[in-house]
Protein backbone atom coordinates (compact mmCIF):
# COMPACT_ATOMS: atom_id res chain seq x y z
CA UNK A 1 0.00 0.00 0.00
CA UNK A 2 2.74 2.46 0.94
CA UNK A 3 4.53 1.68 -2.29
CA UNK A 4 1.35 2.48 -4.19
CA UNK A 5 1.06 5.83 -2.50
CA UNK A 6 4.69 6.68 -3.25
CA UNK A 7 4.04 5.63 -6.81
CA UNK A 8 1.04 7.93 -7.13
CA UNK A 9 2.90 10.79 -5.53
CA UNK A 10 5.85 10.36 -7.89
CA UNK A 11 3.75 10.26 -11.02
CA UNK A 12 1.51 13.05 -9.73
CA UNK A 13 4.45 15.35 -9.10
CA UNK A 14 5.98 14.54 -12.49
CA UNK A 15 2.83 15.24 -14.44
CA UNK A 16 2.16 18.18 -12.14
CA UNK A 17 5.53 19.70 -13.01
CA UNK A 18 4.55 19.63 -16.69
CA UNK A 19 1.20 21.25 -15.91
CA UNK A 20 3.06 23.83 -13.84
CA UNK A 21 5.27 24.78 -16.79
CA UNK A 22 2.27 25.12 -19.09
CA UNK A 23 0.52 27.16 -16.40
CA UNK A 24 3.58 29.41 -16.09
CA UNK A 25 3.27 30.16 -19.78
CA UNK A 26 -0.38 31.09 -19.25
CA UNK A 27 0.63 33.32 -16.35
CA UNK A 28 3.28 35.23 -18.24
CA UNK A 29 1.00 36.01 -21.15
CA UNK A 30 -2.00 36.68 -18.93
CA UNK A 31 0.03 39.15 -16.91
CA UNK A 32 1.16 41.13 -19.88
CA UNK A 33 -2.09 41.07 -21.88
CA UNK A 34 -4.91 39.70 -19.68
CA UNK A 35 -5.41 37.06 -22.33
CA UNK A 36 -5.57 33.34 -21.55
CA UNK A 37 -3.58 31.83 -24.39
CA UNK A 38 -5.12 28.51 -25.36
CA UNK A 39 -2.33 27.79 -27.82
CA UNK A 40 0.01 27.30 -24.86
CA UNK A 41 -0.30 23.48 -24.98
CA UNK A 42 0.26 23.54 -28.72
CA UNK A 43 3.58 25.28 -28.17
CA UNK A 44 4.51 22.21 -26.09
CA UNK A 45 3.35 19.90 -28.87
CA UNK A 46 5.26 21.89 -31.47
CA UNK A 47 8.46 21.79 -29.42
CA UNK A 48 8.14 18.05 -28.88
CA UNK A 49 7.13 17.10 -32.44
CA UNK A 50 9.86 19.26 -33.97
CA UNK A 51 12.43 17.61 -31.72
CA UNK A 52 11.17 14.13 -32.60
CA UNK A 53 11.30 14.71 -36.34
CA UNK A 54 14.57 16.62 -36.40
CA UNK A 55 16.18 13.92 -34.25
CA UNK A 56 14.77 11.23 -36.53
CA UNK A 57 16.51 12.99 -39.42
CA UNK A 58 19.81 12.25 -37.74
CA UNK A 59 20.47 15.44 -35.81
CA UNK A 60 21.76 14.85 -32.25
CA UNK A 61 18.90 14.95 -29.75
CA UNK A 62 20.24 17.97 -27.86
CA UNK A 63 20.49 20.05 -31.03
CA UNK A 64 17.06 18.80 -32.08
CA UNK A 65 15.68 19.87 -28.71
CA UNK A 66 17.11 23.36 -29.13
CA UNK A 67 15.50 23.57 -32.56
CA UNK A 68 12.24 22.37 -31.03
CA UNK A 69 12.33 25.13 -28.44
CA UNK A 70 13.16 27.67 -31.15
CA UNK A 71 10.24 26.45 -33.25
CA UNK A 72 7.90 26.96 -30.31
CA UNK A 73 9.39 30.40 -29.62
CA UNK A 74 8.83 31.39 -33.26
CA UNK A 75 5.22 30.25 -33.01
CA UNK A 76 4.84 32.47 -29.94
CA UNK A 77 6.38 35.40 -31.77
CA UNK A 78 4.06 34.91 -34.74
CA UNK A 79 0.99 34.48 -32.57
CA UNK A 80 1.58 37.91 -31.07
CA UNK A 81 3.03 39.79 -34.01
CA UNK A 82 0.82 38.36 -36.75
CA UNK A 83 -2.41 38.01 -34.83
CA UNK A 84 -2.86 39.38 -31.32
CA UNK A 85 -1.10 42.72 -31.80
CA UNK A 86 -3.28 43.47 -34.83
CA UNK A 87 -6.43 42.79 -32.87
CA UNK A 88 -5.28 44.88 -29.89
CA UNK A 89 -8.52 46.80 -29.77
CA UNK A 90 -10.81 43.81 -29.64
CA UNK A 91 -12.14 42.51 -26.35
CA UNK A 92 -10.16 40.09 -24.20
CA UNK A 93 -12.75 37.45 -25.07
CA UNK A 94 -12.13 38.07 -28.76
CA UNK A 95 -8.40 37.63 -28.21
CA UNK A 96 -8.95 34.39 -26.33
CA UNK A 97 -10.99 33.06 -29.24
CA UNK A 98 -8.10 34.12 -31.46
CA UNK A 99 -5.71 31.97 -29.43
CA UNK A 100 -8.09 29.03 -29.75
CA UNK A 101 -8.02 29.59 -33.49
CA UNK A 102 -4.22 29.65 -33.37
CA UNK A 103 -4.27 26.36 -31.44
CA UNK A 104 -6.43 24.73 -34.09
CA UNK A 105 -4.18 26.15 -36.78
CA UNK A 106 -1.03 24.78 -35.13
CA UNK A 107 -2.68 21.40 -34.77
CA UNK A 108 -3.56 21.40 -38.46
CA UNK A 109 -0.07 22.44 -39.50
CA UNK A 110 1.48 19.75 -37.29
CA UNK A 111 -0.78 17.14 -38.85
CA UNK A 112 0.44 18.10 -42.31
CA UNK A 113 4.12 18.80 -41.62
CA UNK A 114 4.54 15.87 -39.23
CA UNK A 115 2.01 13.02 -39.03
CA UNK A 116 -0.87 11.65 -37.01
CA UNK A 117 1.01 9.00 -35.05
CA UNK A 118 2.25 8.98 -31.48
CA UNK A 119 5.94 9.60 -30.96
CA UNK A 120 8.41 9.31 -28.15
CA UNK A 121 11.90 10.55 -27.43
CA UNK A 122 14.64 8.53 -25.77
CA UNK A 123 14.69 9.07 -22.00
CA UNK A 124 17.78 11.05 -21.07
CA UNK A 125 19.12 8.56 -18.54
CA UNK A 126 17.60 5.36 -19.87
CA UNK A 127 14.48 3.65 -18.66
CA UNK A 128 15.92 1.55 -15.85
CA UNK A 129 13.42 2.37 -13.06
CA UNK A 130 14.72 3.65 -9.76
CA UNK A 131 13.33 1.99 -6.65
CA UNK A 132 12.10 4.29 -3.88
CA UNK A 133 10.27 2.63 -0.95
CA UNK A 134 9.19 -0.26 -3.18
CA UNK A 135 7.81 2.10 -5.80
CA UNK A 136 9.44 2.27 -9.20
CA UNK A 137 10.15 5.68 -10.61
CA UNK A 138 11.25 6.46 -14.16
CA UNK A 139 14.58 8.33 -14.26
CA UNK A 140 12.93 10.74 -16.71
CA UNK A 141 10.68 11.86 -13.84
CA UNK A 142 13.71 13.36 -12.17
CA UNK A 143 14.72 15.00 -15.42
CA UNK A 144 11.27 16.57 -15.68
CA UNK A 145 11.38 17.78 -12.08
CA UNK A 146 14.91 19.13 -12.36
CA UNK A 147 14.10 20.83 -15.66
CA UNK A 148 10.95 22.39 -14.25
CA UNK A 149 12.82 23.58 -11.16
CA UNK A 150 15.53 25.20 -13.28
CA UNK A 151 12.96 26.96 -15.46
CA UNK A 152 10.94 28.23 -12.52
CA UNK A 153 14.10 29.46 -10.79
CA UNK A 154 15.38 31.15 -13.95
CA UNK A 155 12.02 32.83 -14.52
CA UNK A 156 11.86 34.11 -10.96
CA UNK A 157 15.39 35.51 -11.19
CA UNK A 158 14.57 37.06 -14.56
CA UNK A 159 11.39 38.80 -13.40
CA UNK A 160 12.67 39.87 -10.00
CA UNK A 161 16.26 40.81 -10.75
CA UNK A 162 16.52 42.09 -14.30
CA UNK A 163 15.16 45.40 -15.53
CA UNK A 164 13.46 43.77 -18.51
CA UNK A 165 11.79 41.26 -16.22
CA UNK A 166 10.60 44.11 -14.04
CA UNK A 167 9.30 45.75 -17.19
CA UNK A 168 7.02 42.76 -17.81
CA UNK A 169 5.71 43.09 -14.26
CA UNK A 170 5.27 46.82 -14.72
CA UNK A 171 3.19 46.29 -17.86
CA UNK A 172 1.00 43.81 -16.03
CA UNK A 173 0.37 46.36 -13.29
CA UNK A 174 -0.10 49.56 -15.22
CA UNK A 175 0.32 49.83 -18.96
CA UNK A 176 -0.10 53.59 -19.03
CA UNK A 177 2.58 54.17 -16.42
CA UNK A 178 4.84 51.63 -18.12
CA UNK A 179 4.53 53.50 -21.41
CA UNK A 180 5.18 56.81 -19.66
CA UNK A 181 8.51 55.59 -18.27
CA UNK A 182 9.53 54.71 -21.81
CA UNK A 183 8.77 50.99 -21.99
CA UNK A 184 7.81 49.91 -25.49
CA UNK A 185 4.86 47.75 -24.52
CA UNK A 186 4.68 45.92 -27.85
CA UNK A 187 8.31 44.83 -27.66
CA UNK A 188 8.05 43.62 -24.09
CA UNK A 189 4.79 41.78 -24.66
CA UNK A 190 6.35 40.11 -27.69
CA UNK A 191 9.14 38.99 -25.42
CA UNK A 192 6.62 37.59 -22.96
CA UNK A 193 5.01 35.56 -25.75
CA UNK A 194 8.37 34.25 -26.91
CA UNK A 195 9.43 33.24 -23.41
CA UNK A 196 6.06 31.59 -22.71
CA UNK A 197 6.24 29.66 -25.93
CA UNK A 198 9.82 28.59 -25.27
CA UNK A 199 8.84 27.37 -21.81
CA UNK A 200 5.90 25.50 -23.35
CA UNK A 201 8.18 23.90 -25.96
CA UNK A 202 10.64 22.85 -23.28
CA UNK A 203 7.85 21.33 -21.20
CA UNK A 204 6.68 19.33 -24.20
CA UNK A 205 10.17 17.99 -24.87
CA UNK A 206 10.76 17.06 -21.22
CA UNK A 207 7.45 15.23 -20.99
CA UNK A 208 7.59 13.31 -24.26
CA UNK A 209 9.71 10.35 -23.05
CA UNK A 210 7.00 9.71 -20.41
CA UNK A 211 3.73 10.85 -21.95
CA UNK A 212 4.47 10.53 -25.71
CA UNK A 213 3.39 13.27 -28.07
CA UNK A 214 1.24 13.65 -31.15
CA UNK A 215 -0.11 16.47 -33.30
CA UNK A 216 -3.17 16.84 -31.08
CA UNK A 217 -1.46 16.54 -27.68
CA UNK A 218 -1.65 20.31 -27.19
CA UNK A 219 -5.37 20.57 -26.59
CA UNK A 220 -5.49 18.62 -23.36
CA UNK A 221 -2.25 20.23 -22.18
CA UNK A 222 -3.74 23.68 -22.72
CA UNK A 223 -6.81 22.76 -20.72
CA UNK A 224 -4.77 21.28 -17.90
CA UNK A 225 -2.34 24.17 -17.86
CA UNK A 226 -5.21 26.65 -17.82
CA UNK A 227 -6.88 24.69 -15.04
CA UNK A 228 -3.64 24.66 -13.06
CA UNK A 229 -3.22 28.40 -13.50
CA UNK A 230 -6.80 29.01 -12.38
CA UNK A 231 -6.38 26.64 -9.46
CA UNK A 232 -3.27 28.43 -8.26
CA UNK A 233 -4.60 31.89 -9.01
CA UNK A 234 -4.38 33.34 -12.51
CA UNK A 235 -1.48 35.75 -12.78
CA UNK A 236 0.64 34.39 -9.95
CA UNK A 237 3.77 32.47 -11.01
CA UNK A 238 3.91 30.77 -7.61
CA UNK A 239 0.24 29.90 -8.04
CA UNK A 240 0.99 28.34 -11.41
CA UNK A 241 3.59 26.05 -9.88
CA UNK A 242 1.46 25.08 -6.90
CA UNK A 243 -1.66 24.72 -9.05
CA UNK A 244 0.19 22.45 -11.47
CA UNK A 245 1.54 20.21 -8.74
CA UNK A 246 -1.80 19.99 -6.93
CA UNK A 247 -3.58 19.19 -10.16
CA UNK A 248 -1.08 16.45 -11.00
CA UNK A 249 -1.36 14.95 -7.52
CA UNK A 250 -5.17 15.03 -7.49
CA UNK A 251 -5.21 13.25 -10.82
CA UNK A 252 -2.68 10.63 -9.76
CA UNK A 253 -4.28 9.86 -6.39
CA UNK A 254 -7.83 10.08 -7.71
CA UNK A 255 -6.94 7.86 -10.63
CA UNK A 256 -5.01 5.40 -8.48
CA UNK A 257 -7.26 5.14 -5.45
CA UNK A 258 -10.67 5.51 -7.02
CA UNK A 259 -10.74 5.00 -10.76
CA UNK A 260 -8.36 5.91 -13.49
CA UNK A 261 -11.28 6.29 -15.88
CA UNK A 262 -12.27 9.49 -14.09
CA UNK A 263 -8.74 10.88 -13.74
CA UNK A 264 -9.53 14.04 -15.69
CA UNK A 265 -12.85 14.47 -13.93
CA UNK A 266 -11.16 14.55 -10.53
CA UNK A 267 -8.94 17.33 -11.67
CA UNK A 268 -11.80 19.49 -12.84
CA UNK A 269 -13.83 18.64 -9.74
CA UNK A 270 -10.91 19.85 -7.61
CA UNK A 271 -10.90 23.12 -9.50
CA UNK A 272 -14.63 23.59 -9.03
CA UNK A 273 -14.28 23.05 -5.30
CA UNK A 274 -11.28 25.35 -4.91
CA UNK A 275 -12.74 28.12 -7.01
CA UNK A 276 -16.07 27.92 -5.17
CA UNK A 277 -14.29 28.32 -1.84
CA UNK A 278 -11.51 30.64 -2.96
CA UNK A 279 -12.36 32.40 -6.22
CA UNK A 280 -8.93 34.01 -6.33
CA UNK A 281 -7.24 30.58 -6.45
CA UNK A 282 -4.97 28.89 -3.93
CA UNK A 283 -2.33 31.59 -3.69
CA UNK A 284 -3.76 34.31 -5.89
CA UNK A 285 -4.95 37.61 -4.57
CA UNK A 286 -7.40 40.05 -5.98
CA UNK A 287 -5.45 42.96 -7.34
CA UNK A 288 -7.47 46.09 -7.44
CA UNK A 289 -6.39 48.35 -10.20
CA UNK A 290 -5.83 51.87 -9.05
CA UNK A 291 -7.49 54.39 -11.27
Amino acid sequence: MLSDLVQYAASGVTVGAIYALIALGFTLIYNSTHVANFAQGDFAMLGAMTTVFVAAAGVPVVAAGILGILAAACAGLLLYRAAISFAKNSSVLGLIVLTIGAAIFLKGVAQIVFDKRFHSLPAWFGTEPIKVLDATIQPQSFVVLAGAAVIVFALVVFTKKTLIGKGILAISQNQLAATLVGINVTTIVTLAFVISAAIGGTAGILATPITLTSYDAGTLLSLKGFAAAMLGGMGSPMGAVIGGLVLGLVEAFGGGLISSAYKDAFAFLAILVVLALRPQGLVGSFVRERV
Partner: protein
Protein backbone atom coordinates in the same frame (compact mmCIF):
# COMPACT_ATOMS: atom_id res chain seq x y z
CA UNK B 1 11.48 73.53 -25.60
CA UNK B 2 8.01 72.08 -26.09
CA UNK B 3 5.64 73.55 -28.58
CA UNK B 4 2.09 72.45 -29.36
CA UNK B 5 0.20 73.95 -32.29
CA UNK B 6 -3.51 73.73 -33.13
CA UNK B 7 -3.92 70.36 -31.51
CA UNK B 8 -7.22 68.47 -31.67
CA UNK B 9 -7.99 65.12 -30.11
CA UNK B 10 -11.04 62.93 -29.79
CA UNK B 11 -12.41 59.99 -27.87
CA UNK B 12 -14.23 58.03 -30.53
CA UNK B 13 -16.37 60.56 -32.35
CA UNK B 14 -16.35 63.17 -29.63
CA UNK B 15 -13.70 65.83 -30.01
CA UNK B 16 -12.49 66.95 -26.59
CA UNK B 17 -9.55 69.18 -27.54
CA UNK B 18 -9.89 71.92 -30.13
CA UNK B 19 -7.11 74.11 -31.52
CA UNK B 20 -4.90 73.93 -28.46
CA UNK B 21 -1.56 75.70 -28.72
CA UNK B 22 1.06 76.18 -26.03
CA UNK B 23 4.74 76.71 -25.64
CA UNK B 24 7.11 76.25 -22.72
CA UNK B 25 10.80 77.02 -22.58
CA UNK B 26 13.61 75.61 -20.44
CA UNK B 27 13.55 76.91 -16.89
CA UNK B 28 9.94 78.06 -17.19
CA UNK B 29 6.71 76.87 -15.66
CA UNK B 30 3.51 76.94 -17.67
CA UNK B 31 0.46 76.52 -15.43
CA UNK B 32 -2.64 75.06 -17.02
CA UNK B 33 -5.81 75.55 -15.04
CA UNK B 34 -9.37 74.60 -15.77
CA UNK B 35 -12.46 72.93 -14.36
CA UNK B 36 -13.14 69.20 -14.23
CA UNK B 37 -13.44 67.73 -17.68
CA UNK B 38 -11.86 70.72 -19.42
CA UNK B 39 -9.41 68.43 -21.20
CA UNK B 40 -6.19 69.02 -19.27
CA UNK B 41 -5.37 65.36 -18.79
CA UNK B 42 -6.25 64.57 -22.38
CA UNK B 43 -3.87 67.29 -23.53
CA UNK B 44 -0.96 65.94 -21.47
CA UNK B 45 -1.68 62.42 -22.69
CA UNK B 46 -1.69 63.64 -26.28
CA UNK B 47 1.65 65.36 -25.77
CA UNK B 48 3.08 62.17 -24.27
CA UNK B 49 1.73 60.12 -27.16
CA UNK B 50 -0.64 57.89 -25.23
CA UNK B 51 -3.70 59.64 -26.66
CA UNK B 52 -4.08 59.96 -30.43
CA UNK B 53 -4.37 63.40 -31.97
CA UNK B 54 -6.46 64.20 -35.01
CA UNK B 55 -4.77 67.41 -36.13
CA UNK B 56 -1.99 69.71 -35.00
CA UNK B 57 1.69 69.38 -34.31
CA UNK B 58 3.84 68.72 -31.29
CA UNK B 59 7.52 69.61 -31.41
CA UNK B 60 10.27 69.03 -28.88
CA UNK B 61 13.37 71.19 -29.34
CA UNK B 62 12.19 71.90 -32.86
CA UNK B 63 11.76 68.27 -33.86
CA UNK B 64 8.24 67.03 -34.63
CA UNK B 65 6.94 64.32 -32.32
CA UNK B 66 3.69 63.46 -34.10
CA UNK B 67 5.00 60.24 -35.57
CA UNK B 68 7.21 59.34 -32.61
CA UNK B 69 5.99 56.52 -30.35
CA UNK B 70 5.16 57.32 -26.75
CA UNK B 71 8.04 55.25 -25.38
CA UNK B 72 10.48 56.93 -27.75
CA UNK B 73 9.31 60.39 -26.63
CA UNK B 74 10.62 59.56 -23.16
CA UNK B 75 14.03 58.87 -24.67
CA UNK B 76 13.88 62.25 -26.37
CA UNK B 77 13.47 63.95 -23.01
CA UNK B 78 9.72 64.17 -22.39
CA UNK B 79 8.41 62.85 -19.09
CA UNK B 80 5.02 62.89 -17.40
CA UNK B 81 3.86 62.59 -13.83
CA UNK B 82 0.41 61.22 -14.58
CA UNK B 83 -2.86 62.07 -12.91
CA UNK B 84 -3.48 59.85 -9.90
CA UNK B 85 0.25 59.11 -9.54
CA UNK B 86 0.01 55.67 -11.21
CA UNK B 87 2.87 54.12 -9.28
CA UNK B 88 3.47 50.40 -9.76
CA UNK B 89 1.70 49.53 -6.53
CA UNK B 90 2.72 45.88 -6.38
CA UNK B 91 6.40 46.64 -6.84
CA UNK B 92 8.96 48.05 -4.46
CA UNK B 93 9.75 51.74 -4.31
CA UNK B 94 13.23 51.06 -5.61
CA UNK B 95 11.85 49.04 -8.52
CA UNK B 96 9.53 51.92 -9.38
CA UNK B 97 12.52 54.24 -9.53
CA UNK B 98 14.61 51.77 -11.52
CA UNK B 99 11.78 51.46 -14.03
CA UNK B 100 11.77 55.23 -14.25
CA UNK B 101 15.32 54.87 -15.51
CA UNK B 102 14.27 52.42 -18.23
CA UNK B 103 15.71 54.66 -20.94
CA UNK B 104 18.82 55.76 -19.02
CA UNK B 105 22.29 54.30 -18.73
CA UNK B 106 23.20 52.30 -15.63
CA UNK B 107 25.55 54.98 -14.27
CA UNK B 108 22.95 57.72 -14.64
CA UNK B 109 20.41 55.50 -12.93
CA UNK B 110 22.65 54.98 -9.91
CA UNK B 111 23.34 58.71 -9.61
CA UNK B 112 19.67 59.63 -10.02
CA UNK B 113 18.60 57.00 -7.52
CA UNK B 114 21.02 58.54 -5.06
CA UNK B 115 19.63 61.98 -5.77
CA UNK B 116 16.02 60.85 -5.27
CA UNK B 117 16.89 59.21 -1.95
CA UNK B 118 18.74 62.29 -0.74
CA UNK B 119 15.94 64.61 -1.75
CA UNK B 120 13.21 62.45 -0.22
CA UNK B 121 14.79 60.38 2.56
CA UNK B 122 11.46 58.68 3.25
CA UNK B 123 11.76 56.93 -0.11
CA UNK B 124 15.13 55.57 0.98
CA UNK B 125 13.79 54.38 4.33
CA UNK B 126 10.99 52.51 2.59
CA UNK B 127 12.81 51.54 -0.59
CA UNK B 128 12.05 47.82 -0.27
CA UNK B 129 8.38 48.25 0.61
CA UNK B 130 5.61 48.05 -1.98
CA UNK B 131 4.79 51.40 -3.53
CA UNK B 132 1.12 50.70 -2.88
CA UNK B 133 1.79 50.89 0.86
CA UNK B 134 2.93 54.52 0.70
CA UNK B 135 0.68 57.41 1.67
CA UNK B 136 -0.71 59.60 -1.08
CA UNK B 137 1.93 62.25 -0.56
CA UNK B 138 4.77 59.76 -0.58
CA UNK B 139 3.37 58.18 -3.76
CA UNK B 140 3.39 61.62 -5.33
CA UNK B 141 7.06 62.10 -4.41
CA UNK B 142 7.75 58.68 -5.88
CA UNK B 143 5.87 59.48 -9.08
CA UNK B 144 7.83 62.71 -9.48
CA UNK B 145 11.16 61.00 -8.82
CA UNK B 146 10.25 58.18 -11.18
CA UNK B 147 9.59 60.68 -13.95
CA UNK B 148 12.89 62.46 -13.23
CA UNK B 149 14.86 59.22 -13.55
CA UNK B 150 14.72 59.57 -17.34
CA UNK B 151 16.51 62.96 -17.10
CA UNK B 152 13.80 64.82 -18.99
CA UNK B 153 14.15 68.28 -20.46
CA UNK B 154 10.37 68.72 -20.39
CA UNK B 155 8.14 67.42 -17.62
CA UNK B 156 4.35 67.34 -17.67
CA UNK B 157 2.72 67.21 -14.23
CA UNK B 158 -0.95 66.36 -13.90
CA UNK B 159 -2.40 67.66 -10.63
CA UNK B 160 0.57 66.80 -8.41
CA UNK B 161 -1.11 68.36 -5.38
CA UNK B 162 -4.32 66.37 -5.66
CA UNK B 163 -5.36 64.83 -2.37
CA UNK B 164 -2.36 66.10 -0.42
CA UNK B 165 -2.27 67.93 2.90
CA UNK B 166 -1.24 71.64 2.84
CA UNK B 167 2.17 70.77 4.26
CA UNK B 168 2.81 68.22 1.53
CA UNK B 169 1.51 70.58 -1.12
CA UNK B 170 4.19 73.05 -0.04
CA UNK B 171 6.81 70.33 -0.35
CA UNK B 172 5.66 69.32 -3.81
CA UNK B 173 5.64 72.89 -5.06
CA UNK B 174 9.07 73.50 -3.55
CA UNK B 175 10.29 70.48 -5.51
CA UNK B 176 8.73 71.88 -8.68
CA UNK B 177 10.50 75.21 -8.23
CA UNK B 178 13.74 73.31 -7.77
CA UNK B 179 13.20 71.57 -11.11
CA UNK B 180 12.60 74.94 -12.72
CA UNK B 181 15.93 76.16 -11.32
CA UNK B 182 17.60 73.10 -12.79
CA UNK B 183 16.37 74.26 -16.18
CA UNK B 184 13.50 71.93 -16.91
CA UNK B 185 10.55 73.11 -18.93
CA UNK B 186 7.47 72.36 -16.84
CA UNK B 187 3.81 72.08 -17.76
CA UNK B 188 1.87 72.14 -14.51
CA UNK B 189 -1.80 71.14 -14.56
CA UNK B 190 -3.52 72.17 -11.36
CA UNK B 191 -6.96 72.61 -9.84
CA UNK B 192 -5.16 74.32 -6.99
CA UNK B 193 -4.98 77.45 -9.10
CA UNK B 194 -3.71 79.98 -6.57
CA UNK B 195 -0.46 78.17 -5.77
CA UNK B 196 0.03 77.13 -9.38
CA UNK B 197 -0.34 80.70 -10.65
CA UNK B 198 1.96 82.03 -7.95
CA UNK B 199 4.89 79.93 -9.15
CA UNK B 200 4.07 79.97 -12.85
CA UNK B 201 5.86 82.10 -15.43
CA UNK B 202 3.06 81.69 -17.92
CA UNK B 203 -0.44 80.38 -17.50
CA UNK B 204 -3.36 79.27 -19.62
CA UNK B 205 -6.98 78.67 -18.73
CA UNK B 206 -8.74 75.78 -20.37
CA UNK B 207 -12.49 75.46 -20.80
CA UNK B 208 -14.28 72.67 -22.64
CA UNK B 209 -11.24 71.68 -24.64
CA UNK B 210 -10.06 75.15 -25.61
CA UNK B 211 -7.57 77.58 -24.20
CA UNK B 212 -9.70 80.61 -23.47
CA UNK B 213 -7.24 82.85 -21.67
CA UNK B 214 -3.49 83.18 -21.47
CA UNK B 215 -1.00 85.46 -19.82
CA UNK B 216 1.74 85.48 -17.25
CA UNK B 217 1.07 83.87 -13.89
CA UNK B 218 0.80 87.32 -12.31
CA UNK B 219 -1.64 88.62 -14.91
CA UNK B 220 -3.97 85.71 -14.47
CA UNK B 221 -3.81 86.02 -10.69
CA UNK B 222 -5.21 89.53 -11.14
CA UNK B 223 -7.77 88.59 -13.80
CA UNK B 224 -11.34 89.12 -12.63
CA UNK B 225 -12.75 86.02 -14.33
CA UNK B 226 -9.96 83.79 -13.04
CA UNK B 227 -10.46 85.19 -9.55
CA UNK B 228 -14.17 84.35 -9.64
CA UNK B 229 -13.98 80.95 -11.27
CA UNK B 230 -10.71 79.48 -10.08
CA UNK B 231 -9.43 81.39 -7.09
CA UNK B 232 -12.72 81.34 -5.21
CA UNK B 233 -12.95 85.06 -4.42
CA UNK B 234 -14.19 88.11 -6.24
Amino acid sequence: MLEVKDLASRYGRIEVLHDVSLKVEPGKILALIGANGAGKTTLLKAISGVQPISTGTITLDGKPLNKVQASERVKRGLAQVPEGRQVFGGMSIEDNLLLGGWTSSATNVQADLQFAYETFPVLFEKKDLLAGSLSGGQQQMLAICRALMSRPSVILMDEPSMGLSPLLIDQVFAAIELLKKKGLAIVLVEQNASVALSIADDASVMETGRIVLRGTGKELQQDQRVKELYLGHA
